[in-house]
Symmetry: C2
Subunit: 349 residues, 2 copies
C-alpha cells in the first residue's frame, strides 16, 4: 500500500530532466536517502529502474571480468546476485546455507579470508526466506582483504535497520515499493568513498551505459545529460522519504518490529510455526510455514478473492512450504496484522 | 506536457507485479503498442526504465562480443548507440554524415553490403539534429546480408510515422514522454519474429539480467517473476496509448505535421532558417538555427524565466547553433505554436 500523500505527489506537473527544480528534488532525495540508509556517504541516488536494476548497477560497476566475486548464498536473491555477477564476467565463489538460516561470523570470515575476492555480496534482508543477515563480520573480513561489500537492502530499507556506515557496507541498494511505501520504479543506492576510489581507478568501461555510476554522478551532480529521469517517480520518492523523516527512522523500525511481533504471536496462537528462528526474522516480511495438509495456492487464491489480500508463496526450495506475508512501510499497521490473521485463519478452513 | 487523463491514471491504487489485473494492463499495452508502432509483431513490451534503457536493451540482446555492429552516424544518439554497442563487446563500424543530414539509399546500401554486419542501427528521429531518417533501404540491405536492424524511435513514436513492418525494422524502441505524452519512466520496445529467432539461437547469456529479453518474455507472457514492474507507470502508459488510439494514429501524425508546418512558417516569417532541409525534418522536434549575434543560452533563460517555456540548446557539433523546440504529444497544439513563436520573438530582442 502507498500513502495517499505519495499518490498526490505523483500527479504534480512534471518538469524536464535538466530543470533546476528537478535537481532540487534530486538534492532532497540525496539527503533523505543518507538519513534513511544511516550513512554519511555523499553519493546517494535513485537508479531509474526497479530494485533489480539497483542490484545490477551495484554488480556491473564493481565486478570486472575475471575478478573474484564472493556471494554468501542463503536465498533466491543471493542466487540472482551470483547470476548477475557471472553475466558481467566475474568468477563467482559461493558459501552455501539453507534458505532461512544465517551465516555466523566465523563462517563468513573464514570464507572471505580464504577466497580473497575483490567484491563480496550478501543479502541483508532475504525476501525469499524472511531472514535478516547481520553484516559486520562480513564487512570487516572483506575490508581486511581489500574487497568491497555489496548489500541487498531491498526488503530492509525503511522497515528495519540498514545501518550502512556502522555495518561497513560499501554499496547498498533497495527499492521504493517496500519499506518506503512508494510505487515501484526507482532503486535507491548509496556508495561509500572507498568504493568510489575503486570506481575512479577503473580503466575498463562499465559494460552498461544506462547503469554507469560515473555517468550518473556527472548527471546528478554536474547536470550533464545522461538519461531522462522520471520527475514523477522522484516526486513520489521524495514524499515517501519525507514521511520517513517525519516519523523518525527509529520510530519506524519500532513500528515494524511491534507489528511483526504481534503477527508472530497471532501465528503461534493459530498453532502455526515461523520458518526462521527467533532473532533472525525480518520485521517486514514474515514466513510462517504452511501447515501439513494445507494447499498454499488455494489459501492464497481465497485470500485474494474473498479478502482482497495478496500474499506470496515460497520461492525455490521453499515453494509450497511457507507463506510470505509482507507488513511493511505504509502497510505495517495493527489493523493489517489483525486483518491478515483473521483472513488467513478463515482461508485455511 | 502530460494529459490530465494520464495524471489521473497514475494515482490509481497499485497492484502487485504478478497480480492478474496487472497482466490485463500489460496485455492492453502490448496490443496498443502494436497499433502505435504499426506492426503485427506479437512481442511489444515496455522496459522498466527510460528511453536509454530501451536503447541498451536493444543493443545488449542483439550485440555479441566480436560481432560487427554497424551504425549510421548522423547525430548524438547515433554516437550513443555506438558507445553502448562497444560496451557490450561489439566491433563497431560507422558511416558518417554531418548532423542534420540524412543518408541516401545508395550510400546506406553500399556501406551495409560492404561491411556485412550482424546488426545495423540507425536513428529514425534524431533529437539532436531534428532530422528524420527513412529506413527502407537500410532494412532491405541489412536483410540481404542477414543482419538485424535496430531503429531508435524515441522522438518519432506517437508523433510521426514509425511504420515498423512497412520499413522492415526488427527492433524498435522509444520513450513515453515525447510523442506519447506520458511522464518518462518506461521504454516501449517491439521485436520482430526474425529477431526472436536470433535471440532463441543465442547461446551466450545477455550480459544484462535486468534487460534480458528472454527473461522479460517469460515474465510478461508466462507470469514468471523477473522484476517488480511499476503498475503506476503501466497505468500511465496504457492511458496515453488509449488516447493515441482514440485520436487515431494517422490523425495524430497529421496534427503533428500541421503544427510543425505552422511553426516553420512562423520561424521563416521571423527571418530565421531551419537547420534541416525541407522534407527531412522531424514534426515533433524543430531545430531553427540561432541567428547570428544571438546568444542562445540567454534566449533559453528568458524563455524559461519570463514565459515558462523550456526549450533545449544544440548538442555536440550543434551547440550554440540551433534551438531544439519540442512540439509533441499533448503539447503539439496550435496554441503552443503561437505561444512559442511569440515568446521566442520577444526573448531574442
Amino acid at each position: 500500500m502507498v500513502s495517499p500523500r505519495v499518490y498526490e505527489a505523483m500527479r504534480q506537473p512534471i518538469v524536464g530532466h535538466l530543470d533546476p527544480f528537478f535537481f532540487e528534488v534530486v538534492e532532497d532525495v540525496r539527503k533523505l536517502l543518507a538519513y534513511t540508509f544511516s550513512t554519511s556517504n555523499e553519493f546517494n541516488i535513485a537508479i531509474s529502474g526497479t530494485g533489480t536494476s539497483g542490484m545490477e548497477t551495484a554488480v556491473a560497476n564493481f565486478a570486472e571480468p575475471g575478478a573474484r566475486f564472493a556471494v554468501l548464498a542463503n536465498g533466491y536473491f543471493c542466487d540472482r546476485l551470483a547470476d548477475v555477477a557471472r553475466r558481467h564476467g566475474s568468477e563467482v565463489v559461493r558459501l552455501e546455507k539453507p534458505w532461512g538460516e544465517v551465516f555466523d561470523d566465523q563462517q563468513a570470515r573464514e570464507f572471505i579470508l580464504r577466497e580473497k575476492p575483490r567484491t563480496v555480496a550478501y543479502v541483508q534482508a532475504e525476501t525469499s526466506a524472511g531472514v535478516y543477515q547481520p553484516g559486520n563480520a562480513i564487512c570487516e573480513a572483506a575490508h581486511e582483504v581489500d574487497a568491497l561489500v555489496i548489500a541487498d537492502c531491498v526488503t530492509s530499507l525503511g522497515g528495519m535497520p540498514v545501518m550502512v556506515d556502522e555495518t561497513g557496507i560499501d554499496i547498498a541498494y533497495s527499492c521504493t515499493q517496500k519499506g518506503l511505501g512508494c510505487p515501484p520504479g526507482l532503486a535507491p543506492l548509496t556508495v561509500s568513498p572507498r568504493a568510489w576510489e575503486r570506481l575512479r581507478a577503473r580503466t575498463r568501461p562499465v559494460d552498461s551505459f544506462y547503469m554507469d555510476l560515473r555517468l550518473l554522478d556527472s548527471y546528478y551532480r554536474d547536470h550533464k545529460y545522461h538519461h531522462t529521469a522520471s520527475a514523477t517517480m522522484f516526486y513520489a520518492l521524495r514524499e515517501a522519504l519525507a514521511i520517513v523523516r517525519e516519523e523518525g527512522i527509529e520510530n519506524r523500525w519500532q513500528r515494524h518490529r511491534r507489528n511483526h511481533a504481534a503477527f508472530v504471536a497471532g501465528i503461534e496462537a493459530l498453532g502455526m510455526r515461523m520458518h526462521v528462528a527467533e532473532g533472525h526474522r525480518l520485521w517486514t516480511l514474515n514466513t510462517p510455514r504452511v501447515p501439513d495438509g494445507v494447499d498454499d495456492v488455494k489459501v492464497r487464491q481465497r485470500l485474494l478473492a474473498e479478502h482482497g489480500i495478496e500474499i506470496a508463496g515460497g520461492l525455490g526450495s521453499l515453494a509450497g512450504k511457507v507463506f510470505r506475508i509482507g507488513l511493511m512501510g505504509y502497510s505495517s499497521t495493527e489493523e493489517n496484522v489483525a486483518r491478515i490473521l483473521d483472513a488467513l485463519q478463515r482461508s485455511m478452513k
